[in-house]
């Protein structure tokens, strides 16, 4: 994914400083911003709505219990609810009122399984994002801003890891050690961090060379000040965009691994596992393939729309800039 963006960046767009915030109460500004975003970026708003639906599914689908607060689960059934003796009657039911997305080969409710699966997918995606961001920002700032030799070494290491396609790296790790949601999030996080790190590094080097950074250094600004006032704001949009990316990357990776046989424990109702199992029954029960497939598609669709819209809005170089090669 990141490589396309790199290509877009590589053409070099002129930067102008971001306009100053307007003096209004925060909530008014937020609401106004939201309205502006919806009007300006209708596709992005659609994406945002889909993402919101997904987050709500993940949060409420399997039920919620935080201290005294108890929210009953949204899913009509538990994800592993079946009766082996009745399975032959209850299996492969097409969508109905009782089972809005039908039932699977053991008579389990597909909708409930998708809702439980949403939490796993979102958790992995967010976990991967947190790890990736931590890694990429630290690495980048350290190696691109401070130390040349560290940078050289680090870039080689990143290249060595990067030169193997991600799917193979993850496959190799899981073929040997097995996949759990935690290891998947870790692996995706580290790989994603290294990938984003490359892009961020280029960005930091570019910003570092800007005259205003030189100017503030000449005026005696500390490194910390330069990093937090000048460099981070300029790369912040990248981090936000990669966050929107990492959830869909995690979902795609999970699905691919499940299909290839290196996935998470098949007892877990992840979307990838459901997609994988559905292949066996696609003629009899196409809904088993279509609904998880739609969920995966909807998630990627939503995050992509949102991510691209956010980048357009947040990228400081695009603010009021006239595009020029």
């Amino acid at each position: 994914m990141a490589r396309y963006e790199t290509a877009i960046e590589a053409t070099g767009l002129e930067a102008t400083p971001a306009p100053a915030g307007l003096e209004r109460p925060l909530w008014r500004r937020a609401l106004g911003g939201l309205g502006w975003f919806c009007a300006r970026k209708p596709l992005g708003a659609l994406g945002g709505a889909l993402v919101l639906v997904l987050l709500l599914m993940a949060l409420l689908g399997p039920g919620l219990e935080v201290g005294p607060l108890q929210v009953p689960r949204l899913a009509p059934y538990h994800y592993n609810e079946y009766d082996i003796a009745r399975a032959h009657r209850e299996r492969f039911q097409p969508p109905s009122l009782e089972h809005p997305m039908g039932t699977d080969q053991r008579g389990r409710d597909v909708l409930s399984r998708l809702l439980y699966g949403a939490r796993i997918s979102v958790a992995i995606g967010l976990g991967a994002f947190v790890i990736a961001t931590a890694i990429s920002t630290t690495l980048t700032l350290v190696s691109a801003y401070y130390v040349r030799s560290v940078d050289l070494l680090l870039q080689r290491v990143i290249e060595m890891v990067n030169f193997v396609p991600d799917l193979l790296v993850i496959g190799a790790i899981f073929a040997i050690k097995g996949a759990t949601p935690l290891t998947l999030a870790l692996t995706l996080g580290v790989l994603g961090g290294l990938n984003t790190g490359r892009v961020l590094r280029a960005e930091v080097i570019r910003v570092r060379a800007q005259p205003y950074v030189d100017a503030s250094r000449a005026m005696g600004a500390s490194d910390g000040r330069i990093i937090f006032r000048h460099i981070l704001p300029n790369v912040m949009f990248w981090i936000i965009v990669s966050a929107t990316n990492s959830v869909s990357v995690a979902i795609v990776a999970e699905a691919n691994l499940a299909v290839l046989g290196f996935g998470l424990d098949p007892s877990l109702p992840t979307w990838g596992n459901m997609l994988d199992e559905s292949r066996e029954h696609v003629r009899q029960a196409p809904h088993l393939a279509i609904f998880p497939g739609l969920m995966v598609a909807m998630t990627i669709f939503g995050f992509r729309l949102l991510g691209d819209a956010l980048r357009d809005v947040l990228d400081p170089r695009l603010h009021g800039a006239r595009l020029r090669p």
Binding site: Y4, I8, R156, M160, I176, A255, T299
Partner: protein
Amino acid sequence: MTDYLVRRLILLVVTLLGGSALLFFAMRLLPPRDAIDLQVPPQTPNAEETKEALRRQLGLDGPLYRQYLDWLKGFFTGDWGKSLHSHRPILQELKDRIPVSFELGIIGLFFTWVISMLLGIVSALHQDRPLDYVLRTLAYALDAVPPLLLGVLLLTYLAVNFSWAPPPTFSYFWDDPVRHMKIMLLPTLVIGVTSAGNLVRFTRTFLLEVLRQDYIRTARAKGLSEGVVLVRHALRNVAIPFITVLGATVPTLLTSSVIIENLFNLPGMGRYTFQALINLDYPVFVTTTTFYALVILTSQLVTDLAYTWVDPRVSYARGTP
């Protein structure tokens, strides 16, 4: 320029050496350490001797660093070793599989290109009008479809409704071109359709950008028709950034096609590599992965060079970050 090339080549070799060493030792030192254990059950009479014999036969005895050096030497001299399980030479196996994977990638890319060019251009020409939104939404939707789902549904319903399925036994283009095209049609279409989304947006963005340029305005002012402006002036410039994108697609082409290869029964490289992973056939895995790396690194280098060649404004003189 030569300076730059030499620097890049040295870096390439360093990366390749380091990466393959990392891979080699990781595969051999992580548990389960010895894939030979998997082959010779402990209950076997003379299990230890049998294992020793197997190791000798497959060149897996002696200290690990020496094995690595031997392997490295073999890799560069064309002796790529044998599979742990089938004892078939890896090089021979790859010779049969490389054309399949590359063809799958290239035709798939061609479909991607056709679809994304068409949608992208139409979308750009209708900027911010309803058709633009529809096409852009479509582009995002194409991106989101899991290739497996599309493939499985196509196979099933083409067979059920039209009694048609691609021929089950693969044959190469030079053996039977018609049959070959019948086999390759579905998988390449699936790849083309599911990976077009990104490029649609890409084409649209760049075309819009180009259309705002002064020279386009000049061309229009000269009284040239829209069509001529588009084809003669605008599209030519879209080709430049396209090259980088194509270069960036090579790694994805090689691996993400493994699902397609399995689904459509194609003898590709991805399938070979993942089989090796399932069976912990590490000579195969390490060698094929290093080969991937070589291809990917080379393609990156070529892309960068092509980029300078196409776009003279980019130079790789020393000092450029």
